[in-house]
């Protein structure tokens, strides 16, 4: 590994309260869950921090439950847990599909929902799902718990409203009306980082979200309004092309992403009619 971890320290969390105290008292501490992002950063010679806090002993954070009709997914639930959960399969089948397409089984067995959200990559596979599900993120800090709508969680590229002394403990998903749809486009069918990732809900007011086409995952309010007003799909796709601002990078080009985004929305619209 290119980054020597010899001088780094690791604490293992034993209680939630203890974990939050560590984050408060030792600024710069990096929470660890499945390590499928942090250990890649270390391999690339980056130093995400010198102090690490292992959350994996906090088994309670791995639970998937329901409360008042909402699905409550603990931050430590893995992609494998999502696929196996009867609750997730019943409430959010598009999340099962997203989880199935994250890396290979080895990554699915380790990577967590909380990690995917906190890592804040614009290419995070589950992010468009939570955006169209109108989910909320649960943050626990020294002053207690707060809930943030998922659509206002991210503030920019790899930036969120989570303060460094807050722990992302769960994501909560309300009941979803309407057909759900998910599709990821990468270089190959398995084990690829997305070039474009899309989730949609065909409700009376349709909801659409795209990942990898901007600095954060985006909802598409103008395109959604166009579709809701009954405009023809091609007119809505013209709105879409103007609404997103993808970039050229090592994984894809802006033009490709814009056109694939339009194709995905067209396919979603036809597939959920």
């Amino acid at each position: 590994m290119r980054t020597a971890t010899r001088d780094f320290t690791l604490r293992r969390a034993r209680t939630l309260a203890g974990a939050v105290s560590v984050l408060r008292d030792e600024p710069g501490t990096v929470p660890l869950a499945g390590c499928t992002d942090v250990y890649v950063a270390l391999q690339f010679g980056q130093r995400p921090g010198k102090r690490y806090l292992d959350l994996t002993p906090l088994k309670a954070l791995r639970r998937i439950t329901t409360r008042d009709g909402w699905l409550v997914i603990g931050a430590l639930a893995t992609y494998t847990d999502l696929q196996r959960s009867r609750l997730v399969r019943a409430h959010v089948p598009m999340l099962v599909e997203a989880a199935r397409l994250v890396g290979g089984l080895q990554i699915q067995n380790r990577g967590t929902v909380g990690g995917n959200l906190a890592n804040a990559s614009p290419a995070g596979d589950t992010l468009p799902v939570f955006a169209v599900a109108e989910a909320q993120v649960v943050l626990l800090g020294p002053e207690g718990e707060r809930r943030v709508p998922f659509t206002s969680f991210y503030t920019g590229y790899r930036a969120s409203v989570r303060r460094s002394d807050e722990l992302l403990t769960a994501v909560e998903v309300p009941p979803i009306e309407g057909r759900q749809w998910f599709r990821k486009v990468g270089t190959r069918a398995a084990q690829a980082i997305s070039k474009v990732v899309f989730a949609g809900v065909r409700a009376s007011a349709p909801r659409l979200a795209l990942g990898s086409v901007g600095p954060t995952v985006v909802r598409l309010p103008r395109t959604e309004r166009s579709l809701a007003s009954g405009e023809p799909i091609e007119a809505a796709l013209d709105v879409l092309r103007g609404e997103i601002s993808p970039i050229d990078d090592l994984r894809s080009s802006a033009d490709y992403r814009r056109e694939v985004s339009a194709n995905l929305v067209r396919e979603f619209w036809a597939g959920t009619a």
């Binding site: 590994m1 971890t5 010899r6 780094f8 690791l10 293992r12 660890l32 499945g34 390590c35 499928t36 250990y39 890649v40 391999q43 690339f44 690490y52 292992d54 994996t56 494998t80 890396g103 290979g104 089984l105 080895q106 990554i107 067995n109 380790r110 069918a189 398995a190 084990q191």
Partner: protein, 150 residues
């Protein structure tokens, strides 16, 4: 820290953030586990933790405290899948082979005969640049047949 490794209780005195991969290879001299990409893409360093395949290049060793870890050395060498990998030439250069065997064990042990889709999904995280995977799929099917014969 304590763990079970290939069926035996072990106690290790290692830095908690070291990669499981490095502890296995450098400290325990279990060099059957290979390092390919080092970034979780190729599956060469696959081991089983509590029965599930994971890439040991992305696991801080502290996280396997109290766990049951199985490496290729723990599979024994005479497992039906290891023999069928030889017979079907599912291994050529060999660097992906230990990871492939560990990732495919669940397919061989499962009651139902694995479909092509199941095999491709189970092995999606294991890159092989030699075989084109077909020989590996044949080896998995042969091992499954042998395991469930009678």
């Amino acid at each position: 820290m304590k763990l079970r490794l290939n069926g035996a209780a072990r106690e290790l005195d290692v830095h908690p953030l070291r990669r499981l991969l490095d502890v296995l290879r450098e400290d325990l001299l279990l060099t059957g586990t290979k390092e390919g990409c080092g970034e979780g893409e190729c599956g060469a360093c696959t081991v089983l933790v509590d029965g599930l395949p994971v890439v040991s290049c992305l696991v801080p060793v502290a996280q396997v405290e109290g766990c049951d870890v199985v490496t290729i050395e723990g599979v024994g060498g005479d497992h039906p899948l290891q023999r069928s990998m030889m017979a079907e030439v599912g291994a050529q250069c060999g660097i992906c082979t230990p990871g492939v065997v560990l990732a495919a064990l669940a397919l061989v042990d499962a009651d139902r005969k694995p479909t092509l889709a199941r095999m491709r999904e189970a092995l999606a995280g294991n890159l092989c640049r030699c075989t084109g995977y077909e020989a590996i799929h044949r080896a998995v099917l042969a091992a499954h047949a042998e395991r469930h014969a009678k």
